[in-house]
Amino acid sequence: MLAVSRAKKRSRLQIIMEVLEALDHHGELHATDLSLIVKLSYDRLRSVLEDLDKKGLTDVERLEDERRSLVIRLTSEGRRLLEELRRLRRILEDYGLA
């Protein structure tokens, strides 16, 4: 369930997991780069990011350049949640559910 699958429609949980993994891997990312990495439209990604930001899992910074682009980082809470998700994924994989 948590596994990354490009052919099938991804669940919201899968998308969140991919966003958190990408942010953890790269440290910080521009929203446009993140949308390319997780293969999600910018609008859809924005709603996910707003949700994650509201829950204190990510930190979104608006740069004062001409494009006013967004830079996203994981917070310590987000990193902790990602660890929990990875642990759950391992357990669910053992049950053949991931």
């Binding site: 369930m1 669940s11 919201r12 949980l13 969140i16 829950k55 899992l57 949640l81 929990e84 998700l85 642990r87 759950l88 357990i91 669910l92 559910l97």
Partner: protein, 182 residues
């Protein structure tokens, strides 16, 4: 003092209870942060599995045969509900496809059993009654498949009427034989 068999079953049930409860707790804590529906389904399915282990333990511990049987039935029913929720958590569309077969299963089984019994049993009237019963369960299966329309309700009502009529006729036949003898 429990027997060796009871002790082993109790130990394995308790171990499963702890494991399922732990997974359910972990899923709930992540669900509370992310509010993803699939996590809620998975939490509920593992919670039901844990609950089924509680009833499994109770069915061994309780001495009354009737209450123990009730707990034993609850164990398998909760486990079945849990497995269905696991299917829902993987894909809601798949669950919608599987649901009729889950609901149909008891009627399909009853239909097959009644049909088999009608072949094995002797006595024309009993056979006729068993054939009627198997047809009733088959009708109920069709009614479940048509539940989205009025036809489903009509089929279900017809099946129940047919079942009552068949039972009444069978009972009337036996009463007539008893009365005839006297």
């Amino acid at each position: 003092m429990p027997s060796f068999y009871e002790a082993v079953v109790l130990l394995s049930c308790s171990t499963c209870l702890v494991l399922f409860s732990y997974i359910a707790y972990a899923l709930l804590s992540v669900y509370r942060k992310l509010r993803a529906k699939s996590l809620l389904y998975l939490f509920t399915s593992f919670f039901l599995l844990a609950l089924s282990q509680v009833f499994s333990v109770l069915s061994i511990v309780v001495e009354s045969a009737r209450i123990s049987l009730t707990f034993y039935t609850l164990t398998s029913s909760l486990a079945a509900a849990s497995f269905f929720l696991i299917v829902v958590s993987v894909s809601e569309e798949r669950a919608v496809a599987v649901a009729p077969f889950v609901i149909l299963a008891p009627d399909l089984l009853a239909c097959a059993l009644a049909a088999t019994a009608s072949v094995v049993c002797e006595g024309r009237q009993l056979r006729a009654y068993l054939v009627a019963l198997s047809m009733v369960h088959l009708l109920r299966c069709f009614s479940v498949l048509q539940l989205h329309s009025d036809m489903g309700a009509l089929l279900l009502a017809s099946a129940e009427v047919a079942r009552v009529l068949a039972t009444l006729l069978f009972a009337a036949f036996h009463v007539s034989r008893v009365v005839g003898r006297e």
